[in-house]
Symmetry: C3
Subunit: 398 residues, 3 copies
């Protein structure tokens, strides 16, 4: 039995092939370190450029104790401004979204332009330097219209991913998608229970009846693997099939982890919908409904599932030790017209019901993990991706 309850002791005594010790889900000290070592360091999906088409447009991206203004400048650049006044710390921007020429703090009227530069501060002494008091900023990187931010001083590199997956972004038309819906699902559990849930499809067959009618990934490996082999062999789609498994502990040194893979859907299924039929026009340059779907992920908290006709984004973020949120984003090609080219409710259906299932599962998981009688349990081979997450997580925490 592991009696060293320090963080380093807990990390050192982790048993490969098993789930985590309870302390990782209940310790405020560990949570605080996760914020420092993961959420203030790795790249996070902040939103999509279609949310801020015009200069001066902005929206707030918030998690844990942080609020960040994502805005488009007059030079048409995307900036991520920390929403904390450099005077006495008030939130500067209170609206969730809007259009403005400057952000003026509601407390003492310090005013910042769209670049975050302090442009007005009344009645300050002569030795006060406005140039040194601009809003703090996060790094921003765009992948097509996907806006990622990093709150690190020196962010991990996304360059390798951008080059490696340029063909994927081009084929799916990342530059020309639009966000048609974002929904936030609050979950009363530690964020890792939500991320771990997303990493494995061992639970798909028993828990997600609707997903399991669409995705081959819900099958046991001995059925899935031959189906995937056949899928790759007979493939006529122009979408890339070559995988890039650089996720979690498989990431290259200095790079943010990422993954790309293409997997079969069940026989006759064209898209992730109620009945497997298409729910929107083909994305980008996609040549046909190819009976597959692509997985794409960036960093530890952002995941995409790309069907031939729409893309679903997932983002998991902590709000406190015992609470997190799952955000889901739905994208279609930019010129698709609502009501004509796609029915919004049909588009949303599969992942809305699936995430509601997950919310319930994760909360019941949390209740048991809280028990004095919880102990790490053995993982299935269908939970290998979760194992990679755990390997990476324990290293990130160190």
């Amino acid at each position: 039995m592991n009696t060293d309850k320090s963080i380093s002791g807990l990390i050192k005594n982790y048993k490969y092939g098993y789930s985590l010790e309870q302390a990782f889900y209940k310790s405020q000290e560990i949570y605080d370190r996760e914020i420092e070592n993961i959420f203030l360091k790795n790249w996070i999906l902040a939103g999509h450029t279609s949310q801020i088409p015009n200069p001066g447009d902005y929206f707030l991206f918030e998690f844990d104790k942080e609020s960040i203004i994502i805005t488009r400048t007059k030079k048409d650049e995307v900036k991520a401004l920390i929403n904390v006044c450099r005077h006495r710390g008030s939130h500067v921007c209170l609206n969730k979204e809007g259009n403005t020429t400057a952000f003026t703090c509601p407390y003492h009227a310090w005013s910042y332009d769209l670049e975050g530069t302090l442009i007005a501060a009344r009645i300050m002494s002569n030795d006060f330097e406005k140039s040194e008091n601009g809003l703090h900023q996060a790094h921003v990187e765009l992948v097509g219209g996907q806006i990622y931010i990093s709150l690190a001083e020196e962010p991990l590199s996304l360059k390798g991913m951008q080059e490696d997956l340029a063909d994927v972004f081009d084929q799916y038309g990342f530059d020309h998608m639009k966000l048609v819906e974002q929904r936030t699902y609050p979950i009363e559990a530690n964020w890792k229970l939500a991320v771990e849930n997303y990493q494995e499809c061992y639970h798909c067959a028993p828990s997600h009846l609707d997903y399991a009618k669409i995705h081959a990934l819900a099958l046991a490996p001995k059925k899935f693997q031959p189906m995937k082999d056949k899928f790759l062999k007979e493939n006529t789609s122009n979408i890339r099939t070559k995988a890039s498994p650089y996720y979690f502990d498989l990431a290259k040194e200095g790079d943010e982890g990422y993954q790309y893979d293409r997997n079969p859907l069940l026989k006759g299924i064209k898209s992730g919908s109620r009945d497997g039929k298409p729910v929107a026009p083909l994305l980008g340059k996609v040549n046909e409904y190819g009976n597959g779907a692509s997985e794409f992920s960036v960093g530890p908290t952002t995941y995409y599932l790309i069907y031939d006709d729409h893309m679903v984004g997932f983002r998991f973020l902590p709000t406190s030790l015992n609470t997190c949120i799952a955000d889901v984003f739905w994208f279609v090609r930019g010129d698709a017209i609502k009501g004509k080219d796609y029915d919004l409710e049909e588009l949303l259906w599969l992942w809305h019901v699936t995430i509601l299932d997950d919310e319930k599962i994760i909360i019941d998981n949390k209740k048991g993990v809280d028990s004095h009688f919880y102990a790490p349990g053995k993982l299935s081979e269908m939970e290998m991706m979760e194992q990679h997450f755990l390997n990476w997580y324990l290293k990130a925490l160190s």
Copy 2:
């Protein structure tokens, strides 16, 4: 003044004859130790066999962070299964009660039979031993139909009590009672304030007008003692009067503490009811309304008050440092018919109003104990049972 604020310092500096220092009610560290040393060790009332008459019947018993499935097996045994999947810790059983042949985890479908044995786990490696992955279990002991559980590895003995009180259980017909109502009263206070409240009748006269019209125990000792002497002398009831004062620090080494005692009711009173009249048929082999009531307790959290015609059970359990629940159970003889032999509302009346009074008292007690100006106060001789509780508690915490 006590300046050593460590747990051992606080225990060492306890002043006999006084209430506890504030820290015992406000320290999370002390609370955590109470869970370990008391609630995961002593016997607790989990429920009654009349709740699970048939094989496959089950109900959940929950407190603090624990959930335990109380179930009847095909061999007609009662089992207490820890409701935590051995895989990744999810609650396995989500329904509060029901009937089943197996408990299948809603997350990854690991399945356990009524004995808690793991009978199915999909897609696990060859070295995985199902036989080593059954649900953890609590010890179970039945006293008549009363189901007690102990979460200890080596539970305290209940054998002495079973032998000592066999005549009591027989006279009252413990084997043939049925549970007709259970109510849960949440209280915004540390659990010890609720247990201490139950230990003493010093508050009965000022706080419980209805109780005080029924029970001689609400009287001052100098009035109560002669009344009890007379009651014992003139007694014609066949119910045992010999006391067994093995509670708290008076328990025998290695045994769970327990108490039996029989006390007079006020003149003309036959039962614990609105007007002192009977509210149900005589229990078991009881020969007459004997103008008395028996006290029976098991361990630190389970108490019974047995009138000649019905029994009321009380259970106090922590839900967090600052919250607890009082559960009240009402029992009548098993063949009594509702509406004919007893009126449920009349049966419940006295203890429903009395516990509501207590709930209020305990919360007002907590508010004052939270003050910087609270200090341990001197106990009355009517609080000697509370003194025994405190003696035991401080030793249990050590």
Copy 3:
């Protein structure tokens, strides 16, 4: 960068001219020390004698974990009794206000007279001394009808203030005011953010449009100072204009800090009201509407704004680390008749809307201060009073 996160390290590394480090707003350890060093030591406004005109009248004054009974004795003295029974700590008085001859604990009926003396405790042993078990008491000092209490063993002196400001209390008729309304505004933020907000009028122009139409203090110093010079020069009011700036770190050794000052209102303004017109009869011996208003404060949490025709009191108190309350008291001369001499809604209007603005500002301030990216910012010259508060606060915490 400050890496010493101990309280003394944080205090030592405070940078003069800047706001506080985040830890001062988020550390439970610092909060606990604030309670000990400030709220259990400095004088606090408890209420007004017009709330307890007759012997036996009482009301409860409550903050953080404390409840104090403010009562008038048969000898016509005001007492502050700690509402914690000396037996097992229950709140003794449960009603928010009333009239009584004794306070009898609802738990075990220990009874205390209006002086706090224990007059009855049933069934206690012979060695129990009632005389040693009276309710704990706070020190009480009256300033006119204003009731201040100190929970310190040895309170700071208010004598200097009483002598210095005797003329002010006489002119405004402190002895003959009445409290006509008290409202409590809960704020989801650390109490210091509320007190700091009250210390500076740098935020008045951008945040308080209604206040800024009335008070010259909302102007920039370069406009305010000449206006104040002119106001003092042309003054014909009989209200004292000489300032007493003995607040916070400017208090005399051993004395509670206090302030008196008189400042101009904007041109044509007679009172703090919706339109600047009078809202009540002139206070005390005030000879005219003098186009000014006086500031008066006692200790760190009690502030008054005295218009010629009414007085508004402000009190800021913590309820937990992350919550506080602002209480606002409105006073008029004692013989003014509601509906005839003053319209209550008009009287309340300005400060009701102003405090609602502040509540919002303070909460948005708290949100930003919670961020990892908050850092102390440079104060404006309009925040000098806040600087005095911070100087005093850091010393008080030491």
